[in-house]
Symmetry: C2
Subunit: 336 residues, 2 copies
Amino acid sequence: MVSSELAKNRPTMRDVAAAAGVSTALVSLVFRDSPNVSQHRRTRVLDAADALGFRPNALARGLASRFSRTIGVLINDLHNPWFAEMYDGAEQAATAAGYQILLTTGNQRTSGEMRAINTMMEQRVDAIVLAGPRVSGPSIKAVCDEVPVVTVGRAFVGINADSVMANETVGAALAVDHLASLGHRAIVHIDGGQGAGAAPRRAGYVRAMKRIGLPADVIGGDFSEAAGVAGVENLMRRKQLPDAIFAANDLVAFGVMGALATRGRSVPGDVSLVGYDNTATAHFTPIGLTSVDQPREAMGELAIALLLERLTGQRLMKRNETLVPTLVVRTTSAPR
Amino acid sequence: MVSSELAKNRPTMRDVAAAAGVSTALVSLVFRDSPNVSQHRRTRVLDAADALGFRPNALARGLASRFSRTIGVLINDLHNPWFAEMYDGAEQAATAAGYQILLTTGNQRTSGEMRAINTMMEQRVDAIVLAGPRVSGPSIKAVCDEVPVVTVGRAFVGINADSVMANETVGAALAVDHLASLGHRAIVHIDGGQGAGAAPRRAGYVRAMKRIGLPADVIGGDFSEAAGVAGVENLMRRKQLPDAIFAANDLVAFGVMGALATRGRSVPGDVSLVGYDNTATAHFTPIGLTSVDQPREAMGELAIALLLERLTGQRLMKRNETLVPTLVVRTTSAPR
DNA sequence: GAACGAAATTAGAGCGTTCTAAACGTGCGA
DNA sequence: TCGCACGTTTAGAACGCTCTAATTTCGTTC
């Protein structure tokens, strides 16, 4: 090994034990906060430990104990702040339970995700959170049989993995009801096409419109800014613009805003606009996008809670949880 | 241990060896891609391995080999896409060199960072990247003596850690020169106060203005949207608005945009505006913020490259690298 | 002061790899 | 036929910790 000179001889429990004049077993007990260690020895050990600059070796610990006390979290896209917020909730819950988090990303590619999952398994994480996974169900079946797994934002059928989702249908209804309550009648939905969550949002929109007694009016799109621009171009060809637009997500809404501005139309003066996801960008003053907000942190916390139930053996059955979104009203939606 | 029933008896090298009728040493050689294993045995071992569903145990491997082949990356703020892009570069470089990345976050708090650093050290990472660290120099001195460390976006003096920075002075000059070349004379800088990188940006602005022969005009602020709003309020009290504003970062610029819009002033009609950092939000059509862009991916790659130099023993001396930013022109800056 | 039980401590065998040094074939030249 | 070199393979001792079972220590009680 080239860097042998770098392999510092770090102090081990043996060294600490020798320095403190006790056995390694006692040192081990001290570092695991065992209650049955005399105060006397405990301080002696701790003093010796930090005199030597001792750091317990997590690899050895994990190997010997068969548990790494680590939960692996796979985030599909690090650039998407959605995941950062979910992660906050997860980290907090995990830390509170005495677990560490091993964070990996799949770089939005299926192959990257599988590689990351394999890495986690080799690191012997005790459980896994898959946030917005793109992998196929069958490809992770073996993993789910080895450790507890929970998926966030997506649910697999026929696989032993728990899931945490947001109720997209309800979210869409929130948007529609809000716009309708402002007096808007012609409410168009630019949808997310094949994107994850697009279908239930569309369905929620259609159902809510029907309930209120308004005609559903869906324009095809996808989860991108370009879809928003295209949607506006499409609408401009009509005799007149709708009262309001409900975009499949915030990106689409940004596209809509830009395209309308380019054409001299104002939001919310000419058209009210509601997005979905409540991304960080939505709240910036020059934008102020009204948007449907998913309880991201809560989803992260819940994901960890589900794993802990499995880890402590409290539950063996699969569980699918659904949380309810809320609407954050800003300046892009106004009375008709 | 409560979850004993979950501690699946995963197959080990021993099992694979038995199944393939060879020694564990041979299995080990196969999994390390040793060249001196006969093709015959290699395939027998590999077949046996995946018949059993064997996954090498990274903990045991790291313990025995004294190297985890893992680089720890500490990201100060997961919500900030800046880090995501830097991480992309780092991950790519690390993977190419056969290293895995252990990603942690400090949640923007110094205490969180120290905890994360300790965790990495306990996991026995071979080297560490600190991206935008907030910790103090002395507090990580011991760590830097144990493993190679590189800091990104900040440099420590008196500590054995390499660093990768962007040249903020040059970046500020880019912004000033751009605005001046558009014919603007009264160019105000709303600065970043005590924030990291604020001082060199301010200095770069002042120097560039002096070079061009224009009077420097700095308004105090910090790296927040609120500072942008406050800056505009400040400017409105003057007899007339400046030709252009160079904001300390994009957040400040968003604040400026919002505040100007509120007061019925248009960008770039009344005032041209340049931000700094080129955040993802800057590029959205309804905003289109001209901004100084740091070569984030390149910075991540370079960070890993520096660590590899240390790991392979090619270099022992500290090295500080500085990369040059570029300007991305969008729609918030226009001729006077 | 002996006996006892509880509390505190320890010896020593793993955990699943890697690594060193030695052993084993095998083919080749003498 | 023997010896030797070379390419393969292996036994067995680490690596630094945890865990079980045993041992020691101690405070009580009789």
